[in-house]
Amino acid sequence: MQIHELVGAVYEAAWLPWAVQYFFLIALSATALLMALPGLALGRVAALPRARLALMVAVTTGITAPIALLADLHQPGRFWEFFLYTNSSSWMAWGAWFVPSYVGLTVAFAWAVHRPGFHALGQESWRFNWLFRWLSLGGASNGFARPLGIAAGAAALLVLIYTGAEVYVVRARPLWNTPFLPLQFAATGFVGALGLMLVLERVLCRDAALEARLNRALAAALGVVAVLGAAWFALALSGLSPRHSEALASVAGFPVWQKIALWGAVSVAVPFVLALVSPSRTGLVTGLIAIHAAWMFRWTVFMGGQAVPKVGSGLYDALLPAGLDGLMGVIGTFGLWLFLLIAYTTFIPWTEASAPADGAAPARPATSH
């Protein structure tokens, strides 16, 4: 049977590049936050260098993400309705509660972590000491860091779960409706976060040992991504899961998708090999490629997914929505993130962040040593 559509309608993507930015940034933030916990919440000193970068990533991307999300609402002025009418059957409605909780806890956690630093800056005699005195709320203890960190970690998990589930439950889109998707979001989130940490390490620290450790972690995350991808493919090809087969069939015939698949495989394989072969010298390259891979995965899932008609033939044009507007959204979000990063590195004594001082934490008496 050969079918040729002679008249058909075109549907535009309803989730715009803003959504890609949101899902990208929030995944980076949540996974980075989790990577900050061993050092900064659980007190593993060896993990501190990595945790400092991770927290920086978590905070800066975490604040940027919901701002991007707001832009994806066509009625941003109505965002408050999320909290007024929470439809319990909607993952998005739950997300509306998770995301601010998560961002709030993460910022609080970062504050607790840096409180000693703020305090110290507040004591010095300089122009802005008043600010830091105010920021430190008159104390130097970072004891809240542990509970706040753990709470933020829990929120991060909720964020990872809801972002994955929100997309996964869309049965209408076979490319999204796969149980692999939440895992892939998380795994590529780690990839992206580690990539960003690697780049930041290159720019801000230049610590070869840290570079190597990050690279090895990246290789591990890439390995997981590869395994998940291969499993998805295998399932789709084997026909064991009709849902996956349908997903594959919906795009397999299109050259643009074949290119995307190849491109995706290359952007996983290349940093994986580099990170393993030369962990302490390739950070900038692997980092950039990893960021790119995490971002592209989402672009492909969201924009590519929306380019697949649900009932018609062929592909819509959504994969590469033309126009400066979409692009400006993407660039603009990165602008905000960069701004936050500069502010973070400028005003926050992030290099001094250390493990929570146990004695100071009221919940954990010194005797527990």
Partner: protein, 248 residues
């Protein structure tokens, strides 16, 4: 021809229940009938044998409902199909919201802006919709879109503003071939109930179990979901997409 037994039986089920209800009303308690007036359950039966692809429905809907440029609440896909060993042949396939009885678009809405009316129509309250487009993603039929002008989700309403005034939906009223038929699925005497009884019918994407209220006569299974085939050639101008930004 593939018949969606489940959906079809569903409709039959409703028809039967409707019949029982009205019998009960007549026989047992007239008072009950007055207390509970019959509430129609609107549905459409599209007879593909009668569709001539004139797109009167498409345009009428645009005119009636002020559907913005680049969007459709309904349209008619036109296919040339070539079966093994057969001659090329034409299929005109009207598409619109199915007003599903299990609509995946409704539960996902974070703010309960979209819901089902008592008479079965799935509608959007544009004063409440935040424009998150989650419902657009969730509809398995590409039946929803974000209206550029209002910046809210938009879709076919089964023209409830007309049907509640005793009129037919715009697309049905103007259907040249008589392919679109509209009426009360809960009334066994209605034309649509009769058509469901007398014909083999199917629905789009039966595997989604959405229980559509739009039925098709003469729908080949190869066309009931994503269609594996060459897409319509779209000259560059039609795909010059308008961004959703307010200046667009």
């Amino acid at each position: 021809m593939d018949t969606n037994r489940r959906g079809f039986l569903g409709a039959m089920g409703r028809v039967t229940i409707g019949a029982v209800a009205s019998m009960a009303g007549a026989g047992q308690s007239a008072q009950a009938a007055i207390d509970k007036p019959h509430i129609p359950h609107w549905g459409m039966v599209v007879d593909l044998r009668k569709c001539i692809g004139c797109q009167a429905c498409t345009v009428a809907c645009i005119m009636e409902n002020d559907v913005p440029e680049d969007s459709f609440r309904t349209h008619v896909s036109v296919y040339e199909v070539l079966k093994e060993g057969g001659d090329p042949a034409m299929v005109m396939l009207p598409r619109l919201c199915n007003h599903c009885d299990d609509p995946p678009c409704v539960p996902v809405c974070p703010v309960e802006a979209t819901f089902k009316l008592e008479t079965g129509e799935v509608v959007v309250d544009n004063t409440k919709c935040v424009g998150c487009a989650y419902c657009v993603q969730a509809c398995p039929y590409d039946a929803r879109f974000i209206n550029h002008e209002t910046q809210t989700a938009d879709k076919c309403t089964f023209c409830f503003h007309r049907t509640s005034a005793g009129l037919l939906p715009a697309c049905v009223e103007t259907c040249v071939g008589g392919a679109r038929n509209f009426g009360d699925l809960d009334d066994p005497e209605s034309e649509v109930s009769r058509m469901l009884r007398e014909n083999e019918v199917s629905v789009l994407r039966p595997e989604m179990h959405t229980n559509p209220n739009v039925y098709y006569i003469g729908l080949d299974a190869v066309l009931d979901g994503r269609v594996a085939g060459e897409a319509a050639y779209r000259p560059p101008l039609t795909v010059e997409t308008q961004p959703h930004g307010e200046d667009a």
